[in-house]
């Protein structure tokens, strides 16, 4: 930062610092040094004073020493030859009787970032590792790491590494943690510090002495340790138990991560840990600091991916305050959408509705989109609100509502009729291209249900010359062609004009090509075009598969308490040290191997005996979908029982009691009603679909299996039947 007249200032300081009168007056001398530091921190280049400052380091005044050291550390790399002169003073200070001075000198010597320092600092560091003052040992331990980073490509000094491992038993807790930190840096290329059984237990036993920062770090290091047996595992967990309720949010979250990692095979333990940390997490969500609140919300969001019900009763905590920053409001809305259930839906919707008129258009649009997400399950109430918003005649709101309608119609086709009615009844034309596209899509896809659709469309075609966005034009082309296929008489003329304009006058190549494509397609005949353009409409059960789904904890546990979820994107910047060792490793194939753990339950010979079902590792939606598509239907039968009229939760719970896992089912009032379930038995995985058509009452069961085992299917069918019958009786 070039300051006006800065050279003059530096010259004057130089004169003053070398003035013997000033040097003899301690106070004036120190004032000048303070001035130098002040300029330095303001970004002024005062490196030309280096010699004078080195002289000033020979003093008994600790503050003056600190200031000079600070100066030297900043400029040492620019003036390596001069810095060597300072080293002598520093080495002398390393043998000072005052431990503060020893520590200070050593720390600053290690902070000189210039090549060739190692030979000067190695000996003092090694000596200081055995210093009797813990303050000096703390500095020395980290000094080892700094020394290593000065010459990163040299071989690791085994002597120092051994010394550091030995210091893990130091009586001072900070030295212990610093050892871990230093070893981690020195051994980075070899995967970091090794946590074996004795070290792990030693650390666990000293957890209570550490300050919260150190606790959090040790917990992260412990992620690397794998207990040998369940007994050991539970010993560790009970030692860590009290940290789940720590007053520091970062310790709570680190402990939770360790719990989830260690207990990955014990789902009950995981669930219990999540339950117990829900209170501290919620407290973080309403902390005074907005940054903490934000981080808390991000963590809650992750937990909810597996346990959406955990925070359902606390939904009011996620209502937005007026003065909260927008990044918090966005997260809260995302959480509210996930929390909705039968009891709170009307209150949550009422709350979201009030956000829709927020002064910030982004926030308003996000709120409308949130209502749209809820509409996939609770269409009627949401449609009322959305329709009401249209009456406000605000541009950004109208546009967002229409976009929401489009997504809703696609994901939840049951609502098509209501949406069409609303759009038909009169909607302002949205002004932005996103909104226009959405409206055109609706007109094109469902034009047969809207009487006025061709006239709206015609308005757009007439205004084509003033339309700037090419994506809108392309959407218009597609929509008009679709409309032509269902209402040819009204549309033929305008389609002709549109195609003519797009082919003859349009300058955008993409639009022209799209127009030509449709033109040639239409030349092949209407039937052919229909086959290509109007593909299959969306499937009513889609909303189930894309809707809320409970993911296994392992899906997100590896990124829990990391920066990724807060930064709002999955990819991390290329930070050099996000090593594989830092992340607990999960073999991706593990959960996809069906029944691998159940094989030992019963040998192949005893299949005639009672076959039991088991839950096994949970199946992700993707893998279920993939297998369902890959496999053939082995068995289909009408069960002869109708669908139980109980709440979905009850059905799910009772099936789970009998070791049948429910993956997804359609909302209660949809027709046809479907449910996807699976279970495991004797090394085989059974996937099944329950279907209730529009007319007949009885459920139809389709079963797929891998590998094939007819006994297991028979057993499965009988269990399922009995569950359904019992439920129907109730």
């Amino acid at each position: 930062m070039p300051y006006f007249g800065s050279e003059e200032m530096v010259k004057e300081l130089k004169r003053a610092l070398s003035n013997p009168h000033v040097q003899s007056d301690r106070l004036r001398y120190k004032n000048y040094i303070t001035k130098v530091i002040r300029y330095m921190t303001q970004g002024l280049d005062v490196s030309s004073l280096f010699m004078d400052m080195v002289k000033a380091s020979a003093t008994v005044d600790i503050v003056q020493k600190k200031l000079v050291y600070l100066y030297m550390c900043t400029y040492a790399s620019d003036k390596p030859d001069l810095a060597l002169l300072a080293i002598n003073t520093l080495r002398k200070d390393c043998a000072d009787p005052n431990p503060m001075v020893r520590g200070l000198a050593l720390r600053n010597m290690c902070n000189f970032r210039m090549p060739g320092m190692t030979e000067y600092i190695e000996q003092p560091i090694v000596a200081a590792l055995r210093d009797k003052a813990s303050y000096v040992r703390r500095v020395a331990v980290l000094g080892c790491a700094k020394m290593h980073s000065l010459q990163p490509n040299t071989e690791i000094d085994g002597r120092i590494v051994n010394e550091l491992y030995a210091l893990l038993r130091d009586p001072d807790p900070v030295v212990v943690v610093n050892c871990l930190r230093a070893l981690e840096e020195i051994l980075k290329d070899e995967g970091g510090v090794v946590i074996n059984k004795p070290i792990a237990h030693h650390l666990l036993n000293r957890m209570k002495e550490l300050d919260s920062w150190a606790q959090s770090e040790v917990l992260n290091f412990l992620l690397r340790y794998h207990p040998r047996s369940d007994d050991e595992l539970f010993d560790i967990l009970s030692l860590l138990d009290s940290f789940l309720q720590s007053s520091h949010a970062h310790v709570v979250v680190s402990t939770l991560r360790l719990f989830l990692h260690l207990a990955s095979a014990h789902r009950a333990v995981q669930a219990d840990a999540l339950l117990r940390t829900s209170a501290p997490l919620l407290a973080t969500c309403s902390a005074v600091s907005r940054e903490l609140r934000f981080a808390g919300l991000c963590h809650v969001q992750q937990v909810m991916r597996s346990q959406p019900g955990l925070f359902a009763t606390h939904y009011k905590r996620f209502f937005c305050g007026y003065s909260e920053p927008s990044y918090i409001k966005f997260r809260k809305m995302e959480i509210l959408v996930e929390l909705v259930n039968d009891e709170n839906v009307s209150l949550v919707l009422e709350e979201l509705r009030s956000y829709c008129t927020d002064v910030s258009p982004e926030l308003a649009q996000a709120a409308i989109a949130a209502i749209g997400r809820i509409a996939r399950t609770y269409s009627e109430k949401c449609l009322d609100i959305l329709t009401g918003l249209l009456a406000l005649k605000q541009d950004h709101i109208t546009s967002a509502v229409i976009q929401t309608f489009r997504d809703l119609v696609w994901f939840c086709p049951q609502s098509t009729a209501a949406v069409c009615q609303t759009v038909e009844a009169g909607v302002d034309r949205p002004q932005d291209s996103e909104g226009k596209q959405a409206l055109l899509w609706l007109l094109g896809a469902h034009g047969d249900q809207m009487g006025s659709a061709p006239y709206v469309m015609e308005g757009y075609i007439d205004g084509l010359k003033t339309e700037l966005s090419s994506t809108v034009k392309m959407e218009l082309l597609t929509a008009t062609v679709k409309m032509f296929l269902c209402r040819p008489a009204e549309t033929q003329d305008m389609l002709g004009r549109l195609l003519h304009y797009c082919i003859e006058e349009e300058s955008d190549v993409c639009v022209r090509d799209r127009a030509l494509l449709y033109y040639r397609l239409l030349q092949r005949g209407a039937e052919e075009t229909r086959r290509v353009v109007t593909g299959p409409k969306s499937d009513p059960s889609m909303s189930v598969l894309t809707g809320r789904q409970e993911e296994p904890i392992s899906e997100w546990a590896s990124t829990f308490n990391t920066l990724g979820p807060l930064a709002g994107r999955d990819s991390c910047p290329q930070t050099d040290a996000i090593s594989a060792a830092d992340q607990p490793s999960y073999s991706a194939g593990e959960e996809l191997l069906p029944g691998s753990e159940d094989v030992t339950l019963s040998g192949p010979g005893d299949t005639e005996e009672e076959i039991s079902l088991s839950l096994g590792a949970p199946l992700s939606h993707e893998s279920f979908e993939k297998m369902w598509l890959d496999l053939e239907i082995l068995h289909r039968q009408a069960l002869g029982v109708s669908r139980p009229r109980t709440a979905p939760d009850t059905l799910q719970a009772s099936l789970q009691l009998e070791k049948i896992q429910t993956l997804a089912f359609t909302p209660a009032d949809t027709v046809p009603w479907k449910a996807y379930i699976y279970t495991r038995s004797t090394g085989t995985l059974i996937l099944a679909e329950l279907l209730q058509g529009a007319t007949d009452e009885s459920l139809v069961l389709s079963v797929k299996q891998q590998p094939v085992n007819q006994h297991a299917i028979r057993r499965f069918v009988s269990v399922l039947k009995s569950v359904l019958q019992t439920l129907n009786l109730e």
């Binding site: 930190r181 309403s286 709350e351 994107r569």
Partner: protein
């Protein structure tokens, strides 16, 4: 862990930087400035900003951005809490944490930062221990220092770091032994138009000021500990005893510290001390509007509501306000569009009322949404949750200490919708 720290004011001037490892160029802050510009309001700058080679983790406090540069994967809560601790330490040392005080005390700031982190790792953050390493500036001491030329650095090592209880140093001596506790409760609430509670909870803390000689072992018990279900304690509290007996047993740190914090979120337990009758409306024509607000006591348990302030963020089109307050003073700032009504003490016999007309920009359409009211208030000698300290006992030392408990209730994020 934490590579570098930059302090930036709201005008976008970088006024302090500190690097614990290699020096990172200031240009890394360009990513921050970009986000700052996009956010418009300083409040809205996201706390985590990813850049191609680093993460920037930012907190915004007292009109200062604390921007930390992170190069390795770290737990985000860890860094955020640490940055707040840095800000709190400044506040503790200089009385307030502002750009001016930081610039005035730049030398101490550097000393502090040097002791708080080494090589990017947190080292000494307990205020007790820091104060022994680096003495805080006081007017008297800086005068003495000027005359004698002595420094403000402790000559001896902090003993607390070596005692078996890390938060308390050995050999504390006072002539007056005293222990004071402040029970501070903040009500966070949202009331809707009709006065119904949409959401309410109490955030409470117990701040302690303990100046006792030796190694006292204290036990604090409540009349109604069942009220508290969501609590977190200072590390000195024996959690097992709380779980089994519902008493707080601890060896206190020396000086000021926060003993515990708690939340009470069950709505039936949260009393709302005041009610607000309001009517703010804008006319379709004539570019004007009307405002009428009355505040009255609701559940105050017989105590007086003090320091009552109503703040309203008006829509952009409101140009001026011509109002009449029966009590207190009002002020409308046409630039920030904030109407501030400072009422003071609430008199239940004569309810304060603010009434009058608002003039809008001519020709502008009627504002879409009604503004909401933020309330600030204070009630002395009352913990609104009903929490009461029963008794405080001391073991381990022979003298008789002075003991005292004060209660105060404040409004936190207290909002009334219109």
């Amino acid at each position: 862990m934490i590579h570098s720290l930059f302090l930036i004011n709201t005008a976008g001037d970088l006024f302090l930087e500190k690097h614990w490892k290699s020096v990172i160029s200031r240009s890394v802050c360009d990513y921050f400035f970009e986000a700052r510009e996009k956010a418009v309001e300083p409040d809205n700058v996201p706390p985590v900003i990813p850049t191609p080679h680093h993460y920037l983790i930012t907190i915004y406090r007292e009109k200062i951005f604390f921007v930390s540069v992170i190069q390795t994967e770290v737990p985000p809560l860890f860094v955020i809490e640490f940055l707040h601790r840095v800000a709190e330490t400044f506040q503790d040392y200089f009385g307030e944490c502002s750009e001016t005080t930081i610039k005035d005390n730049v030398v101490i700031v550097y000393e502090l930062l040097e002791e708080m982190l080494d090589n990017g790792f947190p080292l000494a953050t307990e205020s007790n221990i820091l104060k022994e390493l680096i003495r805080p500036p006081t007017i008297l001491r800086s005068m003495v220092n000027t005359i004698t030329g002595s420094s403000n650095v402790g000559e001896t090592l902090p003993t607390g770091q070596l005692s078996s209880i890390p938060w308390r140093r050995a050999g504390v001596k006072y002539t007056n032994n005293e222990a004071y506790f402040d029970v501070v409760e903040e009500i966070d609430a949202i009331l809707d138009k009709s006065g119904t509670t949409v959401f309410a909870e109490i955030q409470g803390v117990i701040d302690a000021c303990v100046k006792l000689s030796g190694m006292p072992d204290l036990t604090l018990s409540f009349m109604n500990p069942r009220l508290l279900d969501d609590v977190s304690f200072h590390p000195c509290v024996r959690y097992k005893r709380w779980e089994s007996e519902r008493v707080i047993s601890f060896i206190p740190p020396d000086g000021n510290f926060q003993l515990m914090s708690y939340h009470i979120s069950a709505q039936n337990l949260v009393a709302i001390p005041i009610y607000v009758k309001q009517n703010i409306s804008f006319f379709e024509t004539g570019s004007s509007g009307r405002l009428d607000i009355t505040v009255g006591p609701k559940q105050t348990m017989g105590k007086t509501v003090e320091c009552l302030v109503v703040t309203i963020h008006m829509p952009k089109v409101v140009l001026s306000a011509n109002l009449n307050a029966t009590q207190g003073t009002y002020n409308y700032d046409p630039v920030t569009k904030i109407l501030l009504w400072d009422i003071g003490k609430l008199n239940p016999q004569k309810l304060p009322n603010l009434k009058g007309s608002l003039s809008l920009q001519s020709g502008a359409p009627k504002p879409e949404e009604n503004p909401s009211l933020n309330i600030d208030l204070k009630i002395q000698q009352l913990a609104i949750s009903g929490l009461k300290v029963n008794r405080l006992d001391m073991y381990g030392e022979k003298y008789k200490p002075f003991k005292g408990v004060k209660y105060v209730t404040k409004a936190g994020k207290f909002q009334v919708r219109t």
